[in-house]
Symmetry: C2
Subunit: 331 residues, 2 copies
């Protein structure tokens, strides 16, 4: 394992400390992995928080700041944050109008967020939660806990946080987040595994010319192993899967996110985006906004994902509103 770290057990602590030292607009609640907007609680604003296991940076600590999250709870690598972290985060950002939690659909994250919400209700803090389950690679059926939350979560956060910034009530912010979550799908692939520092070896392996479609952001098995194909063919396969799940009509307006998993060069992400753009516009879809870069990574995994969010006037306005955070800036 080649990693530039100190002790494997300290990676999250050291990283969060590095984030804080590099970013004057955030603070860290002492002794926790909770990153908070320096000016939180923001008077009159509904708070929005998120969180999950570490290893997906800049998500979510890198999205804390003006126009985006009020706080993010960082668990250990690929491990849910604790109920205690979540309670501290919620208390730190509540300005009296309540706090929305945006959770990716993982069992541990949600159990803990639900527990934190229940305990805080007794303190009189209003909370609500929206689950993101955008991974179109996972079938929704009785045997699974449902789709995983992956890169599309960032777009849901952006929409919800802009609604909060615009003065929305907890109900309105929740409704904005829910409508974003309902209208976003993601499909990803991996070319190589990643290594959890405390484990020290890859979680799975792929052959010399092999890739996997639908791999989760923690290396969860995907839906199909195949020979590495051209960007063109790969996008055909990915979009077929995604659009079967969320059909788009001619003339419909969308946002596209091409997200790098960690070690796929920006060059390849732009090549992928070109294929997505040509395919969608060729079918009469209008792309109102495109994001290409690393937003929800899996340590050093090679691979990428494509997310599409359907836009209506309201989601579009919230999506395009300004934000100023380390990992997501928009004028």
């Amino acid at each position: 394992m080649k990693k530039i770290i100190n002790r494997p057990d300290d990676v999250v602590r050291d990283m969060i400390e590095g984030m804080r030292l590099a970013n004057q607009d955030i603070r860290v609640l002492p002794g926790t992995g909770v990153v908070v907007r320096k000016d939180a609680p923001v008077p009159g604003k509904v708070g929005v928080i998120s969180g999950g296991g570490s290893g997906h940076e800049p998500a979510h600590g890198g999205f804390v700041g003006k126009g985006m999250l009020d706080a993010a709870c960082a668990g250990d690598v690929f491990t849910s944050p604790s109920v205690d972290q979540m309670m501290k985060a919620i208390r730190a950002v509540d300005a009296g109008r309540g706090v929305l939690i945006i959770a990716k659909n993982y069992t541990g994250d949600n159990l803990n967020f639900d527990m934190a919400m229940e305990l805080l209700e007794e303190e009189g803090i209003k909370t609500a939660k929206v689950k993101v389950h955008d991974d179109a690679a996972v079938e929704e059926n009785a045997d699974t806990t449902g789709r995983r939350g992956v890169a599309g979560t960032m777009l849901v956060q952006k929409v919800a946080c802009a609604c909060a910034e615009a003065g929305g009530s907890l109900e309105e912010v929740k409704e904005a987040a829910q409508s974003a979550a309902d209208n976003v799908r993601t499909i990803g692939f991996a070319l190589s595994p990643c290594i959890i520092p405390a484990v020290g070896k890859p979680g799975f392996s792929l052959g010399e010319e092999e890739m996997e479609l639908g791999t989760g952001i923690h290396g969860e098995a995907g839906i199909r192993r195949m020979k590495v194909d051209t960007a063109h063919n790969l996008v055909e396969i990915m979009l077929e899967k995604l659009l079967a799940d969320m059909p788009l009509e001619e003339g419909e307006e969308v946002c596209v996110l091409v997200n790098g998993m960690g070690s796929t060069p920006l060059m390849e992400l732009y090549i992928l985006y070109r294929e997505v753009h040509m395919k969608l516009t060729g079918e009469g879809i209008r792309i109102a906004k495109a994001y290409v870069g690393e937003y929800m990574t899996s340590l050093e995994m090679a691979g990428a994902s494509v997310s599409i969010m359907k836009l209506d006037e309201r989601r579009k306005r919230f999506l395009l509103a300004p934000a100023d955070t380390a990992g997501f800036k928009q004028f």
Copy 2:
């Protein structure tokens, strides 16, 4: 070679096309790899351009936009852009007050930029050039063509472009760029090589637990191979080398850039930054601004670099001025 591309020979063309499709603030001069600010030439403003081989994204095409570059010439992967590209870029951004070229110190880039400048002089376009050679790993002596230009180039571009945006004359913009170039040093390391798409295999190899200090951004040999060390020890070694070359006095103000080479996770970049921050502030150095992320990559190379720029009041003001580009945004 696992890459998400179409034909290896088309990677730069496809990437530039992807950049253009994803970014409404740029255009691409037809049939070239020249990315230009959509509103160029900006009336009354000195133009600033840069360029070099591709494979270092977001540098330089991702830095084209408001507050940063007016244009960037993308050569083939790790290959100098042509004289023709450079001439087209300069013509496209000249608003009559001249154009500054910021070149990394590579022979081919500079020969071509010099030729382009000479030819354009005959057309009456005023140009000037500043060379960046910030790599503290390379000794300056008669046997070398001098230090290489690496990640510190982005900071030089930022300072120069803010001076141009503020209305500086060609001489003033050149002077700002030169003062930035004179006051920045970088030291990097590699944990793994990268693969040029048209070559198909790594340019060098490193042992299972081996890293190389001072590797160039095209995989040029560094100054020392060593066992992978802790982030703490590595930063000690890197800063010793860098500060021997550019000593800092107690109380001095600097900007720090921790730049990822391609496949090193943001987690590790923040861990590295933490060490740099503690070391410098422990010696009484004031860090006015920190950047942590991927700005000057080497395809999928694993590794990172640390750049330090000494600030005076003027460089600081220009550095902190706003910019809105795909690869570098600042409010």
